[in-house]
């Protein structure tokens, strides 16, 4: 319950830092609704379990016993349903955190931007270096070629 509450607060806090009061109010209300749901579900589970345990007493009348058997089934399924709804709540919270966790998203985006900028710079510098080396090599090769004996002999042959 603490975890769910924490996530809810985190999610709510992230959203609630919007500038407008209406957005903050909506966020607070949403958070409250989530808390209510959480508490309802958990209370549901506990309550049903209690009843289930209480139904263990064996009564005299068989009618009561079979009635209790039916109620036991009912309580068990209610418990399962409450657990399921809790799980759905958790997934909803996760979704909210993923899509509305703007702080973390922005951080991540910034980080990625930094990475990519760095990569781009590195690539640019690499390209520049390659270009410089190519230019230097070209220059060297040209001077060597044009002043080489091979060229002069070639032209002499022609």
């Amino acid at each position: 319950m603490n975890k769910a509450g924490g996530i809810a607060i985190g999610g709510g806090g992230g959203v609630g830092s919007g500038p407008t009061t209406s957005a903050a109010a909506a966020a607070a209300q949403k958070q409250k609704a989530l808390m209510v749901r959480v508490e309802t579900d958990i209370a549901n589970i506990v309550d049903n379990f209690t009843h289930l345990v209480n139904a263990a007493r064996i009564n005299d009348t068989p009618v009561r016993n079979s009635q209790e058997a039916c109620t036991m089934d009912m309580r068990a399924s209610r418990m399962a349903q409450a657990a399921d709804s809790l799980l759905k709540l958790v997934s909803e919270l996760k979704q909210t955190a993923i899509f509305s966790g703007f702080a973390s998203l922005n951080d991540h985006v910034d980080q990625r931007i930094g990475e990519f900028t760095q990569l781009a710079e590195k690539t640019d510098s690499l390209l520049a270096r390659v270009g410089e080396e190519a230019a230097a090599s070209l220059k060297e090769l040209e001077t060597h070629y044009y002043s080489s004996a091979q060229r002069t002999t070639q032209t002499l042959e022609t």
């Binding site: 289930l52 263990a56 064996i58 009564n59 068989p62 016993n65 079979s66 209790e68 058997a69 036991m72 089934d73 068990a76 399924s77 418990m79 399962a80 657990a83 399921d84 799980l87 958790v90 997934s91 996760k94 979704q95 993923i98 899509f99 998203l105 991540h108 990625r112 270009g131 190519a134 230019a135 070209l138 220059k139 040209e142 001077t143 044009y146 002043s147 060229r151 002069t152 032209t155 002499l156 042959e157 022609t158």
Partner: protein, 697 residues
């Protein structure tokens, strides 16, 4: 012993069905049975009613028959009920008790050799109980049906302790069973929930990872199809457009994420969403049709949902979608830029995914986006070879085989730039525009007009096309320069990479070898030795901007320089434009004039007065004759581009020339010296100088 009769509804004849066999079930419907059954030996007491045949009660003397009055149906029922006697049950119990005592005695007395079937007693008791129950049920039914007889009172017999305990045990066992069932149910649910948790963890983990690289959005529309979680990846880049104008992401640019059966993300790309950008040149030759450029390497399309959310598959995914997105963007922008009227480009063909532009005479390019096939597309090396070999040499040469080969290899070099590089360049400039320029735009969203991206796109496109045409022209220029430099041994070609897509520069450099300089310095007159050394390096700069060729060189005499005294050291630098066809000639003329200038200076350095014309250095002989060293340039000459002639003219030569045959005149007044290297030229000069009268010598 069985007795079966029928029962008439109206009760005229009562009958009953008896079954005395122990195993057979009792009659289903309730029949009124009054039976006394004792033990298995079957001494049965039955009371039978009279058959409802009308019996004569009495007959009178006059023959009148008197029948008994009919008894009403109800009365009959009542009378029957009254006859039920449960006394037998009580008697039976007493007898059973007696029998048990007897049995106990007998069992105690005699050791039973035969072990009886252990369930026998239970079966018997059950059977008896069953029969009792059936009687009671019949009774109840009758009482229920009958108004005349009602239940006066019911008292439940006080349960015996063992009965109580038995009941308790049964209830306990039932409840225990209930709980066991519940336990199973809980275990099942727990397992299912655990699986669900694990699935969700995987799903959300993958979604988070995906979100780190892509823009994932939630769908506002309620999910209709089962299993649809309502997520999608939005590939549409809204940064270029007003948010008002483009509201709905098109289906082309969104990719749905679904829940797989395993709980993993299933991304179903539309089947033809992976595209590659094809770029190529359309040849103006007879082998028509666009030459296929190299297909860009694309990863296989992801039609299968990827099972493992690993980083590799994510990066594949990224690459594919990056390519897809970028290519579509690029193509869109190219399209818009081209179609825009103000761009000044000629669009010669346009189809759905294909755009053909004309960027110069006989040069057409096409850009198309084609869906890539399944599987990886490796770079087609065959295509490159085809492309290279398919370009026909524009010139054909006769002559020495070696030279021909060399020239052919030179001309076979394609003048078209490599398609891949063009493709990359196109992508790069648009990418830079899209992602870098666009980032600066949000600051001016309010003032931005919707038409602006198109304009800039067309600007980019025209830039790209100009770059292409520049590349082509500069390739041609380079070819010409290399041809020239190849055939003049004392020229060097130096390339200057400009790192600009629309300008190129070269220098043709001539350096006087140091041996000659040394010789010249020795030959110089002492009084001139203090003067500045003769210039020994000459350069000619060739620059191409867009498609303009600009030559800048020193040493070419202009009109002003001709009239000036040539002792000034400041060399005039000329700049002029030319076109491609004239380029070799101009270069050669420039070089030749530089050589002439050098020779002139050398001659001056040894004290000989010489006149310098454009391509001619003339000495005046003592006899009044003019001996000239003339340079002749011919770019088409294989053996050398600059050849030298020696001409002799006297003051009467003008008249004679008019009357004489040129061939005769050549032998008399001109001597072809050949393609002289610089040292030979220098020695020739020295010979001429000595011929002129020796100067200082």
């Amino acid at each position: 012993m069985e007795m079966v009769t029928d029962q008439n509804v109206h009760g005229y004849s009562y009958s009953f069905k008896l079954s005395l066999s122990r195993v057979a079930p009792p009659p289903v419907e309730g029949r009124l049975v009054s039976v006394k059954e004792r033990k298995m030996d079957g001494k049965l007491e039955m009371s039978l009613d009279k058959l409802p045949v009308k019996r004569l009660e009495s007959i009178e003397e006059n023959g009148f028959e008197r029948f008994p009055t009919d008894i009403g149906y109800d009365e009959k029922q009542v009378s029957l009920i009254r006859r039920i006697d449960f006394g037998w049950a009580v008697e039976k119990e007493d007898e059973e008790k007696k029998q048990k005592k007897r049995q106990k005695k007998s069992s105690r007395e005699s050791s039973s050799t035969t072990t009886p079937w252990p369930w026998k007693n239970m079966v018997e008791n059950l059977h008896l109980a069953h029969q009792e129950l059936s009687v009671i049920i019949d009774l109840i039914n009758t009482v229920e049906a009958n108004d005349a007889v009602t239940v006066a009172g019911m008292t439940r017999p006080k349960p015996l302790p063992n009965e109580i305990l038995a009941d308790l045990a049964v209830s306990t066992a039932t409840k225990l069973q209930c709980y066991r069932n519940l336990g199973k149910y809980f275990k099942q649910s727990a397992k299912a929930l655990e699986q669900q948790v694990a699935r969700e963890a995987r799903f959300y983990g993958a979604l988070i990872r995906l979100q780190q690289n892509w823009k994932v959005k939630r769908q506002r529309v309620a999910a209709i199809a089962p299993g649809n979680e309502g997520f999608m990846i939005d590939l549409f880049d809204n940064s270029l457009y007003d948010s008002v104008a483009v509201f709905q992401p098109s289906s082309l640019s969104t990719i749905r994420i679904d829940h797989n059966s395993d709980g993993m993300l299933a991304i179903n790309l539309p089947s033809k969403s992976c595209h590659s950008l094809l770029f190529g040149f359309l040849s103006g030759h007879s082998n028509a049709g666009p030459k296929k450029s190299n297909k860009s390497k694309t990863h296989g399309s992801l039609d299968n949902p990827y099972k493992k959310p690993e980083k590799e598959s994510l990066s594949d995914n990224e690459c594919v979608k990056d390519t897809h997105l970028l290519l579509r963007k690029v193509f869109d922008m190219v399209n818009r830029g081209a179609v825009n009227q103000s761009s000044g480009l000629n669009v010669t063909g346009i189809q759905e995914n294909y755009l053909q532009l004309c960027i110069g005479p006989g040069i057409s390019i096409y850009v198309s986006v084609v869906p890539s096939d399944q599987g990886d597309q490796a770079i087609d090396s065959e295509d490159t070879e085809n492309l290279e070999s398919a370009v026909e040499p524009s010139d054909s040469f006769d002559g020495v085989k070696l030279a021909e080969e060399k020239h052919n290899s030179l001309t076979k070099k394609t003048s078209f730039p490599n398609c891949i590089t063009c493709e990359i360049y196109l992508k790069q400039i648009f990418h830079e525009y899209i992602f870098v320029e666009a980032k600066r735009r949000p600051f001016s969203t309010s003032t931005r007009m919707p038409g602006q991206p198109a304009n800039d796109g067309s600007g980019l496109l025209s830039h790209f096309c100009l770059s292409l045409s520049h590349r082509i022209i500069s390739n041609k220029v380079l070819m010409e320069l290399e041809n020239v430099v190849c055939r003049v041994p004392y020229l060097h070609l130096i390339s200057h990479p400009t790192w600009h897509s629309r300008s190129s520069a070269w220098t043709i450099y001539m350096k006087i070898p140091p041996s000659i300089l040394h010789a010249s310095s020795q030959a110089r007159t002492p009084d001139i030795q203090n003067m500045k050394n003769v210039k020994s390096e000459f350069w000619t700069k060739v620059m191409v901007r867009d498609d303009c060729i600009n030559i800048e060189a020193e040493g070419a005499p202009n009109v002003v320089g001709l009239f000036k005294d040539s002792s000034d050291d400041i060399c005039s630098t000329n700049k002029y434009d030319c076109n491609l066809d004239d380029l070799p000639v101009i270069i050669l003329q420039q070089v030749a004039s530089q050589v002439i200038r050098w020779l002139h200076e050398e001659a001056l350095a040894v004290g000989i007065k010489a006149n310098r014309d454009f391509l001619c250095l003339s000495f005046e002989l003592e006899q009044g004759e003019i001996l000239s060293l003339v340079a002749r340039v011919d770019p088409e000459d294989i053996q050398g581009c600059i050849s030298w002639l020696l001409t002799m003219e006297d003051s009467f030569a003008e008249e004679k020339k008019l009357h004489m045959n040129i061939a005769d005149g050549a032998s008399e007044y001109r001597k072809f010296l050949g393609y002289l290297p610089l040292d030979v030229l220098y020695s020739t000069l020295m010979d001429l100088v000595s011929l002129c009268g020796g100067g200082s010598h």
